[in-house]
Amino acid sequence: MIGFFNDMKTLTRRNLLRLIRTPEVLIFSTIQPVLFVILFDSVFGGSISPLGFDSYTDFLIPGIMVQTAMFASINTGIGVAEDMEKGAIDRFRSLPISRLAILFGRTNADSVRTLAVSIVVVLTGLLFGLRLTENLGSILLGVVLSVLFANSIQWAFVLMALLVRSLEGVQAVAFLPTFPLVFAASTFAPVENMPGWLQVFAEYQPVTTTVDSVRGLFFGSEVLEASGGSLATSITLTVMWIVVIFAVFASLSVWRFSKN
């Protein structure tokens, strides 16, 4: 067990070092959400005024934060595929380590990055008029919940990489599940305005419950109650989703990884 934690620490450090050495990627992954904030705020800000929120900006920032974390988790799959193609995984697999640590080292490092980018999104929001009403603890909890959700999704992309076994393959397949999850959700617009058939999916799927939880944690449960929800419900559903997604995809990944 101590071995596992040491190996995980070493491999997390390795992946973080790699991140720091590619400032282009870091800068781009920060510019993208900032651009999204500007674009969505300008395009939809005038026409959408979500029930219970002071401004569309308040509604939007939690959405962008979760959306950014979702898209970024594709990089986890790309990273695993790249390490496989370049032989890094074979090298690690030939060392006397816990093989699980190889995958956890990857998701840990990517979660650290997601945390950093999430904070940038919130700070950008503040520049654009975001007004957080809850205390700092509640706000941090919102950010952490979003990162934990992204961490569970990262495992889905780890599995995808282990199955597809190529960088291009992951890039090609990754957007298929990601787009409907991110857009058929309360990310950018309230679910109530969607057609009935879509609402059923949109209301309970994990991106919506996560975004709603973050909204409740940023602005208080009232903003959710205005449209018939509650913070307690959203958080409960989100935690359930995180546990289920993590349990399913992490165990399938581990099974797949130790199989060959």
């Binding site: 390795r14 050495r21 090298r91 006397p96």
Partner: protein, 325 residues
Amino acid sequence: MAAQNPSFESLASGDAIIEARNVSVNFGDVHALIDASLTVPEGQVRGLLGPNGAGKTTLVNVISTLLSPTSGTALVNGFDVTKQGKQVRSIIGLAGQYAAVDNLLTGRENLEIVGSLYQLSRSEAKAQANDVLERLSLTEAADRPVKTYSGGMRRRLDLGASLVGRPKVLILDEPTTGLDPRIRIELWDFLKDLVTEGTTVLLTTQYLEEADALADEITLIDSGRVIAEGTPSALKEKIGGSSLVLATRNSAEIAEAARLVAAIGNAEPVIDEDKASLSMHVDSDSGAIVQAAQALDSAGIAVSELALQSPSLDEVFLRLTKGGN
């Protein structure tokens, strides 16, 4: 580790440190290895030789626990590669066929990370990394990102990564491919030093001279099967006979010379057009050289070289393998 668990030691037969028994590996319909067996005594350098696609990498991957065999077993220091993988991995160092070093990190960081993963403490990992960098003449480039390294430096660093854990058994898949001759010879010397310190080395190679210079014994693989095994000189003796070597003064006449000598021996001459030379396998006491001299003389072909040589490892290789893909 073995001392804590004496039953493992009894699995080793004699002082064999690597032992593969009837290993077969299938990838779908591809039979990459068929009943391959291999026994390497401790402290030996074993060369694994074979044409492209012969199954060398597959065998290396089985022995280094990266791949489970379809059937058969392999033991390293008495540990079963499928059931005691972690024990095996703690005593081996592997440098795969393609350099698996991290381009974004510096050479030193690469080695320190591998050192930590060999469960060395921070300071031990640092010291080992320093030592390895020194021994592979990479100290000057140690703190540069690996993406600025030349191909040869990258290859050396990759080899270095397999050394930081001070492995008892070093497994190298084509370690000198792409290295210039000087660096290659330096690496040979380096490997010889390791062997005198007690390391066992299993290496695959495409270079017969490398196997000749380095290996105590050679295992020849072709199409997934072990087809010959022995010391380089034993293998040369095995095919017996000698080589008739000749070169013509006029390069245009080499084809005609080949036609003439082909009638003497019972093997195909191998022609090197660029050097206007050829070699052909002949029986040692056949008087072939006299017949060749007479035939060439009466055809009016002037030769710059005509000699009988003991066979090279190249010929052993070409005669025993049919060549893969």
